[in-house]
Symmetry: C3
Subunit: 499 residues, 3 copies
């Protein structure tokens, strides 16, 4: 092995090259735990008790058609690389064009189509992922799912490609078979308000017993100043067979849709905003905003006020239909306009912004934060709010639970920071356990495994420092890996939906 | 022991329950130190040298009547639970009503009055405090103060209750006896500008030698737009026998009151604001603001400007009377309106907000930051300011000292973050040592013990990494535990007050 | 040794004084590495492989005349203390006057001139630097450069002074000899847009082979509302022999100057702003702003808009002339007006402010962030942006690289936080390696040594936790210590300048 190609030849005394040839890929059984033996000993014990627990996946972006049709997965590049913006954003940041990685253009301009060429390019730059969670997850998939036993490099790329391709062709690698093998107890997808939930129906009507539930995400119909709003509203009319000519009809349709989602097994809604402003409109202000939107006249400020109001309404409806409300603020979407225009959304160019919760959420929490049948799960991309705002809020309001570190932060150090900055004020029981938030189905076990390791390691530290004893730690490890997520998202409640 | 009741029974392979029956409560002598033997060895040595030092408690909320009358403490629930918002906020956050915990309502609506029932409820949920400083402090009190040797659980709750109640009835558990046993060298209370300091007089006139000093906290008379302002001003007139008809009279009365506090042993003032804006009013702007306040016409903006001006004035008066100025910004008080309306202040619903210091404090620091007889002790609830603003400011201005991690942040990880983010820029000598800030008298030793352990551990890390040597570390440990607080709050100066 | 004088004598059981007399100064070979043996073992190995690599110093403030004339350094105080604001700000913060430390006044008011007296004062307060990077660097210089083997204290101060003075008189301690001994491969200075680069010419024309290159820093001519702007512009006219009567001429002159700097070896520009706003002016708005500036009528808002526009222009010119663009936002300069008025700039009173990057940089990154021949190196004084904004931006935009922790943050814990908060999202290959940013020439090896140790320690942690293997870590250590800086600042490219 030589120096990666992105590093120029030094004039310094030349670096002693690593051993040439094929290197073994090993996953150390005690990986990611602190090196300290006292911590590691406890962490290993706690991890061993939770590693085999079923996976609760209450929030993610897996395509439900995958499990509805149960078709075989495509070849490795289409499965593992081109859909994963964690991967291609990093390659892009180091000068590889999106086109060379086979990312499809919106206008159909041709891009690289040779899957093996793309895979080779990725392998040549795989060193970029050293020290990142993507690298950790990917090695886990290679080793555990596909039985790869050599490190991915330019030399080994195509051999590994062929090995994965061969596996994918076998029945054991069909989506439903993997779902069962992954021990997924429940998997929630994310679905537009106007979605027919057709794949969910197919799954429920099948003989397969896997629990796949939808999540109600109405963002598109709430962003009244966006170019796509009218189309989103039309879709909503189409799927319900109702006309939406007023704000009251709009609310009524949303309530109906929420009930439909619940009947299809949903236990939660999901809401993404830039700023988590909550504020109830006065009088007929909401109706006027909606009217302006129907006339194509809604401004950015109108949308800001409408979204703030609709978060209040979504919370109110949750107190009626029991759907858990998830709020994910703080991402400025599509920061790179040229990339968006050429390749569309979700291309690794969503960038966080500083986020304020204390003042923004006060109206919603004052109205519903102590409601006995309301749960709000809150996320952040701004870690400075963990100890300052989120933990104090969650340590008071009964309805509030903190979602786990999310997106850029569900990493080894990110998970450590979350526990260290949240637990001392809010405890663990005001948090929900892990969500994987992934569209990469095959990475689900890797992600949950990493989270369970990091939680075991955190608790191992508490035991090694004699803050808690091992009995306490075992209960807490179990709660973090399984109980808390199951309870927060109400998967422990009897499912009342008609089947 | 079974899973806590807040966790639903899993469908996963059931969790192996902890051993049933009574579990021993042990405080490990090396608790809270890093697991690493090299760090722990030094930390233990440093801690052993500081553990027995007298306690300097320059800022807190203990009721001075406690030590004036020296009456026995009430039963355990009224002593340890109902006054402690750290405890009941967490129980409330997990769905226990304030009423069920015996928190009195403002309108007298009945709440739970059976102290044993409340204690039992707390014990059933004691697992919520695992990994929190409240849990650490409470175990310390149980073990060290009350001799409890079994873990607090639903099973052991009432036995422990009776054991504490029995102790509280004995003379050794009277407040003054505990004060002496705790080795408190000085305890500062927090007192309104209009306070008569009657209990402080009683203590000074008694034969008991404990040093209990007041702190001048004029917040109520500075918040000119608050409903309670007029009443606060009237109290100030009543206690001084003067009428306050103008801004000049107001300043004159405040200066008089400060001198009275100083004569009664006070060495400091204390100021809480949401935003630490400082700005001197021009011309007669301050007088006009005060006039509007007297007419009941002060707006929120008026108050903002008046508070900003009064911080300048308080600093100016400090340069005259030598009282150390403390500034605690960043808490949005009574975030949960319904809780405030029903139960009042200090119910665990004060939530921090992001705080700016660099620009806000510039006027005050430019005017008084290099004054030879001025000390400003600064606190924060926004940890992101430690390394960014506070340490650079304290590393320049001679008058500025940083108070220790405060409120939500005087925890194990919180204290670690403070030292790690402050020391490299400001050193330790620009910090003040620990304050406990507590109204829970019995928790004072637990809090100082934890702080001394964490400082010893921090220094142990510096020694183990060979940043400083052991000789240096010993001086620094002593300074952090004792010297710095004593000096910053001027308890080392001869007391000039008439007695 | 007794307690430092800033700590009052305790009434507590008196602290056992350290051993009296002279204490040895030792630099532990494994200093600053984690105490954990598994981490330290790897860290030591990685450090040993990078410790001897040449130093790349692409950003700093060493005076190039030093190396142009190669005159002997002055005595110790003038070399090591009075020019170093890291040192005297800390002494000032603890009550020592600037005058007593020999800091020259702007109006010539006399200050302490006895170098030995100043050195003695510093030594008496050297304990203030315990746990700070300044203390670490200074001990390194004393031990490694000057052969001091006793700790600096009041007792040893003058002996050490004499020892250093003696060394400075010898030819081996001339600047060029030290440059070679330090193994500096390239040293970049920082130079005003109007600089003649006379010392750089002298160095290039000399027989000495050291590579010293200028950096183009045009801040002074971009701050159109500052009192000194007109004079800065006049200097620019003088050095180019051109008149600058319009915005177009201004841009033309800047482009010419940039080409001159590049011809003299520069590979980079540098830009300091408070807020990193970027925004291209519309139409002739820039010309109008410039016109107002020429008329002495530019407002603060005008300057804000002009600077935002000029950052766009500087990026555009970089795509033409290939100079790497550095951006250092977030410092509020000269916070303490009295200190500025009496002693001038760079007196330890520059204080960071919270900084926003996501929205501010969007225009610049949209325009040039994917340009194949553009590199933007970004710095911050607001660590809360590492994980929230900077790492996500660098993990997407091909032109963006993150500079290392800077100023207050190039410390042991500061470097740890940087790697832990940046790497998981951006990897190491989107960072540039270390810059020392120093005007203290003799501290360059100490600063790079500390950085190499901290990077080795970070990688040691990854290996010990089995995130990467040792082969990976060795390549990464080499990259961080040498390759990344050399490549990001384009020192690996053939030098096209005429000589």
């Amino acid at each position: 092995m030589t120096l990666p190609e992105t590093v120029a030849a030094p004039t310094a005394p030349s670096f002693p090259a690593s051993r040439a040839g094929t290197q073994p890929l090993r996953l150390h059984p005690e990986r990611f735990f602190d090196a300290d033996p006292a911590i590691r000993r406890v962490a290993v014990q706690l991890y061993e008790e939770t590693a085999g627990l079923p996976i609760i996946s209450p929030h993610g972006h897996v395509d439900p058609w995958l499990l509805a049709t149960d078709d075989p997965f495509p070849e490795p590049t289409a499965l593992l690389l081109t859909p994963d913006h964690y991967i291609f954003r990093m390659l892009y940041s180091q000068g590889l064009s999106m086109e060379s990685l086979g990312i499809p253009t919106r206008d159909g301009t041709p891009v690289e189509t040779d899957a093996r060429v793309i895979w080779q390019r990725f392998a040549q730059h795989y060193h970029l992922f050293r020290g990142t969670p993507t690298g950790v997850w990917f090695d886990h998939e290679l080793h555990e799912l596909f039985g790869v036993r050599v490190k991915l490099t330019a030399d080994t790329a195509l051999t590994i490609y062929d090995q994965i391709a061969e596996r994918l062709a076998s029945p054991e690698y069909r989506p439903r078979a993997l779902f069962d093998r992954f021990k997924i107890e429940v998997l929630a997808t994310t679905d537009a308000a106007s979605d027919t939930l057709e794949p969910h129906k197919i799954i429920r009507d099948s003989t397969w017993g896997g629990r796949v539930v939808p999540t109600f995400r109405p963002d598109a119909v709430l962003r009244i100043a966006q170019p796509g709003w009218r189309a989103a509203l039309t879709s909503l009319e189409a799927v319900t067979g109702r006309t939406i000519g007023s704000y009251d009809e709009f609310i009524s349709v949303l309530a109906e849709r929420r009930r439909f989602f619940a009947a299809m097994g949903a236990t939660a809604t999901d809401h993404a905003v830039v700023e988590p402003l909550t504020r109830r409109c006065n009088g007929d202000e909401a109706a006027q905003l909606f009217e302006r939107a129907l006339n194509g006249e809604a401004s950015d400020l109108d949308q800001r006020l409408f979204e703030a109001h609709m978060l209040m309404e979504m919370a109110r409806l949750s107190t009626e239909d029991g759907l858990v409300m998830q709020l994910h603020p703080g991402a400025m979407r599509d920061h790179h306009t040229r990339v968006f225009e050429r390749f569309g959304q979700d291309k690794g160019a969503d960038i966080p912004v500083a986020t304020e919760y204390t003042r923004n959420l006060q109206p919603l929490l004052n109205a519903y934060g102590a409601h006995p049948d309301f749960t709000l799960v809150l996320f952040t991309l701004d870690e400075s709010t963990y100890a300052r705002e989120l933990a104090p809020l969650a340590g008071h309001y009964p309805a509030l639970r903190l979602g786990p570190p999310w997106w850029f932060h569900d990493s080894i150090q990110g998970m450590r920071r979350f526990r260290e900055q949240v637990t001392e004020t809010a405890g663990i029981w005001n948090t929900t356990g892990f969500i994987d938030d992934t569209r990469a189905f095959c990475s689900i076990p890797a992600r949950h495994d990493l989270a369970r390791r990091m939680d075991a390691n955190y608790l191992g530290g508490l035991v090694a420092r004699h803050q808690i004893d091992l009995d306490d730690a075992r209960v807490m490890a179990h709660a973090l890996a399984y109980d808390l997520g199951r309870k927060a998202y109400r998967f422990d409640r009897p499912h009342t939906a008609t089947h």
